[in-house]
Amino acid sequence: MLAIKRTRRLDPDPAFAATFRALAPRLPGSADAALARVRAEGFERFAALGIPTRRDEAWKFTDVARIANRPMRPAAPVELPLERVLPYLLGGPRARRLVFVDGRLQPQWSHTGGLPEGVIVESLARAAETRPVALAEALAGLDDGRSFTALNAAFADSGAWIELPAGVVLDAPLQLLFVATGGEPPVMSHPRCILRLGDGASLSLLETHVGLGEGAALGNAVLQLALGPGARLEHDRLELLGPASALLAKLDGSLAAGARYRQTTVVLGGALVRNEHEVRIDGPGVECLLSGVAVPSRGEEADTFVRIHHRAGGSHSDQFFKSVVEAGGHNAFAGKIIVHKGAQKTNAYQKNDNLLLSDDSEVDTKPELEIYADDVKCSHGATCGELDAAALFYLRARGIGAETARALLIHAFAAEVIGRLGDPTARALAEQRLLARLGGGLDPALAASVIGEAA
């Protein structure tokens, strides 16, 4: 009899080990023994954990091995003309930014000048030189049992070390722009960002992942957030990938008493875009608002995975995720609120609304609550619907063509999340990309001008 092993993990493609051996001596901070050791341990951990299959509960809805378990190459330096990245430089004239192309810092487009005293904004490669021990500790400090986090620790090539001391309020946004050019074999990059906000510090962070062209690429990003008491972080994320590119993004956050974290993620494009959030609320008075919208079509998959831990009472969390799925797209959402023992007076909400526009599209949704306290307010809900026929008719009866009417309604659905992006330039780019995706000839400039004039 043939024994079929129903495995939850696959052995990584041997190319990973070969690439790691070849690359390790050239990775940022390789000269530092502590860092080199953490990287080697990261790789061993990755090899031991393997690549998750859909039998792994956390990867129930999407097949990541299809995309991530194959030979890939680390990027070679590429020269891009400014006009290729110009549309993605966000935050206005006063924004500071770090730009990476295929895992390498692009100093010509990056600048972090004029920061208040004590503020640190460094690329990961720079941090590997200036603070190798702290970086090694940070990398080693996040072991979430997730193989891609371990892989990121091994290969971390881009990303940033960001620290705001207590009380510092940065009034101009900070952008982290990750551009991937594709190719065959696919190019992989492993951004690692470490962001720490001291008591009462405040930052607007624009995180942008962009895929240029049709080629394949894999971004394996990890972001470690720590917000001190009363700190505020406004975090706008745009994920605009090419049809053959994938992004696996893990966010690990801890929020101290009174911290306020608002994140809005807009996914427009990508063969597989997986956003994982694991946030711990460690004190009272925290506000954690996570929103997102994804618009997968034509074989694209978007997968959102959220774990919110209320480890202290008296805090508020809210998840609001939407998707528009059409033409063979697939959206998955799995979100869990965990209210730990003793975390009384917790308010935690979760909502997942999906617009399913064709029969060949697919939506999976799995909202969950795990509550170990008795005096809490929690709710969760999921919906899946089509466009409102009465609304479509209303628009068409006013002379608006069917395709445009449809685009207007889809836009309206998605705009509820896009409108939550804190930065106007991020909002405008998301709008423009969404409208281009929807067709129907909607002109974003028209929306802007009408709104502008009416205001």
């Binding site: 008719f393 068409r396 009866a397 002379g399 445009t404 309604l409 309206a412 009408v450 009416a454």
Partner: protein, 251 residues
């Protein structure tokens, strides 16, 4: 302008319009009155091209064209406008953005350039003011959270902005207070012109005191049962449908 001949329409297999004939000439105002469920809104929807109605017989010509063969947007582009009995709330679509899209879609279909932004703004403000629609309402999402009366005013605003040839008003007066009724009626009267025709569906004589019709039709059970001048509406007010038509109407 509009010629309806022996129109028969069913909804889910149930006949609603049963051989309705009606001709509306340019420059004229026709009123349609009729008991609840007699098919007035059905007629309005079929004319505007709403899905879910099966035309089982008859024809409708709009100018030279076969109206029933046209898509809803083509009808609007050809100059047909339906002020709906129940305007739809569309959160996420800004009122002004929508209005400008609609105007430009119609202009484009007619081979005209887009309306210049300044002209659009001037016109919208002017019309909104005449209709007692505040700036705040203009900035909101389309009908979202509008009161019943605000929705009806917004319908007339759209009508004024889109400048249709044939205006169908389905109970635009219902849900309006007395002052609003006056404002809306004035709005309609301002649009009266030799090139434009109106089909005004209403239950109440009061509206017809303000918008004086040329012809009044009484509809029952899916057909026009009587037609006459404005005096027919007054007669109806006194005698009721059963008295006027001399028959018991099926509930």
């Amino acid at each position: 302008m509009l010629t309806i001949e022996n129109l028969e329409v069913s909804v889910e297999g149930k006949p609603i319009l049963k051989g309705l004939s009606l001709t509306v000439e340019a420059g004229r105002v026709h009123a349609i009155m009729g008991p609840n469920g007699s098919g007035k809104s059905t007629l309005a929807h079929v004319l505007a091209g709403r899905e879910g109605y099966e035309v089982t017989g008859g024809s409708v010509r709009f100018g030279e064209e076969d109206l029933l063969a046209m898509e809803p947007e083509e009808r609007a582009q050809a100059g047909l406008f339906l002020a709906m009995q129940y305007p739809v709330e569309i959160p996420g679509v800004a009122n002004m953005y929508f209005l400008r899209q609609a105007i430009n879609a119609i202009r484009k279909a007619r081979g005209q350039d887009e309306i210049p932004a300044a002209e659009f703004m001037r016109k919208v403000r002017e019309q909104a003011k005449l209709l007692g629609i505040g700036e705040e309402l203009l900035k909101r999402d389309l009908n979202a959270g509008f009161s019943g009366g605000e929705k009806k005013r917004n319908e007339i605003l759209q009508m004024a902005m889109l400048e249709p040839r044939l205006c169908i008003l389905d109970e635009t007066d219902s849900g309006l207070d007395i002052d609003a009724l006056r404002t809306v009626a004035d709005g309609v009267n301002r649009l009266r012109s030799p090139e434009r025709a109106f089909l005004v569906i209403t239950h109440y004589q009061r509206l017809l005191d303000y918008i004086v019709p040329d012809v009044v039709h009484v509809m029952a059970d899916g057909r026009i049962r009587r037609s006459g001048g404005p005096e027919l509406a007054r007669e109806l007010e006194e005698r009721g449908y059963e008295g006027l038509l001399g028959t018991r109407l099926a509930a």
